[in-house]
Symmetry: C2
Subunit: 222 residues, 2 copies
């Protein structure tokens, strides 16, 4: 283990500065779930940097159970669009009147515009990690994948790039078209690219779907 | 929406700098799952800042389903320690020989030393978000909670503080002692405090339990 200064003179273990912490908070606050993408491609080097950031996430027992699938073929993407349209139609019918009208006005996908599609799965039968820490809480394997996604999301926003998590999809009907192996569990389908514009507030708040509540409402003591 | 300079002259939407992105990557790389804590308390203001960082996380439909419970009473903490010891004993018996010996040498909790215990739950019956985005993928509610945890973890490390996620616990037997309401799902039990020392590498790697693998092994194309 190397906890001291590196050979190049950079102290890898140096404390993080107060200005860095302030910028980190700004990053947390400005990370958005984006639906409006420009069509320009993401540079390959940037995309790999984002995936490397995801890959530094914590994982139960050091299991690293995340599996990243870049979905590029027109046939696979068409299947995803079709699944979204079907699930979205069904979802809109579950609301009545005013809420249904609001729902139909939401932009809930950016599948056609986003240059990069990333399916993120959890390999549930991985031997890596030797099962540590998941006997009583098996969900911790999937939990690890979420930590990786949040890293990727933050790293994207730090580069001015955008991520949109599309959850109005039927994972079972996409298992075939996306060639998802039997022991891979669907976790997230992410659109990635450049945002049409930067957004300060969540779009769902701006259009009146929901409001954020203060921390005090979710904090308890025992 | 305010996308321009703020009244105080700070441009809230300014791009993040290259040095910031480099520090962010260092933060990702140095975030550890800590088991060895000093006993000094965490300043209340710091703890609240970490929870505020968590509370900026993305959530499906803007549902903010995370519930943070500071576990402070000696009786509640004793129940957690007892649950850990029972689950840990059972887990150690599931390995044979060499792996069991390795397991018994791992330090898997820091429950007695860590000054702060935080239970993180997901309120599964929340009306907030109006069900958006979880009809076909109900797990997205819990997924949101994980994004909040990863924010908290990163914000902690940026302040030189430590988080240890204890998953060798039986959530059902702790529902009573921790007074967990019926519709709250257990997500994580976190020890928080100051690390005995900063660690560059995961402890599980240092002691030979598991090795991290390269990104190339988890990246695929369709």
């Amino acid at each position: 283990m190397n906890c001291g200064p590196e050979q190049d003179g950079v102290d890898r273990m140096a404390p993080f500065s107060e200005p860095f912490r302030e910028e980190l908070l700004r990053l947390f606050q400005l990370r958005r779930d984006v639906r409006r993408f420009r069509r320009d491609p993401l540079p390959e080097a940037d995309l790999m940097a984002l995936l490397e950031a995801a890959h530094t996430a914590p994982s139960v027992g050091l299991s690293q159970p995340w599996r990243f699938v870049r979905v590029q073929s027109p046939a696979a993407r068409a299947a995803v669009v079709a699944s979204f349209e079907k699930a979205n139609d069904a979802a809109s019918k579950a609301y009545d009147d005013e809420r249904a009208r609001l729902y139909r006005n939401l932009k809930l996908a950016g599948l056609r515009e986003a240059p990069e599609h990333l399916l993120v799965c959890c390999q549930t039968d991985t031997a890596q990690g030797h099962g540590l820490g998941r006997a009583t809480l098996p969900g911790t394997l999937r939990d690890s994948v979420l930590c990786a996604i949040q890293n990727l999301w933050l790293a994207s926003r730090a580069r001015g790039m955008a991520v949109g998590w599309i959850s109005i999809l039927d994972p079972e009907e996409l298992r075939g078209p996306l060639e998802i192996p039997p022991h891979w569990q669907w976790v997230a389908y992410l659109c990635m690219g450049w945002p049409e514009k930067e957004q300060d507030h969540p779009e769902l708040e701006a259009v009146g779907w929901e409001q954020r509540r203060p921390l005090s409402e979710v904090l308890f003591t025992r």
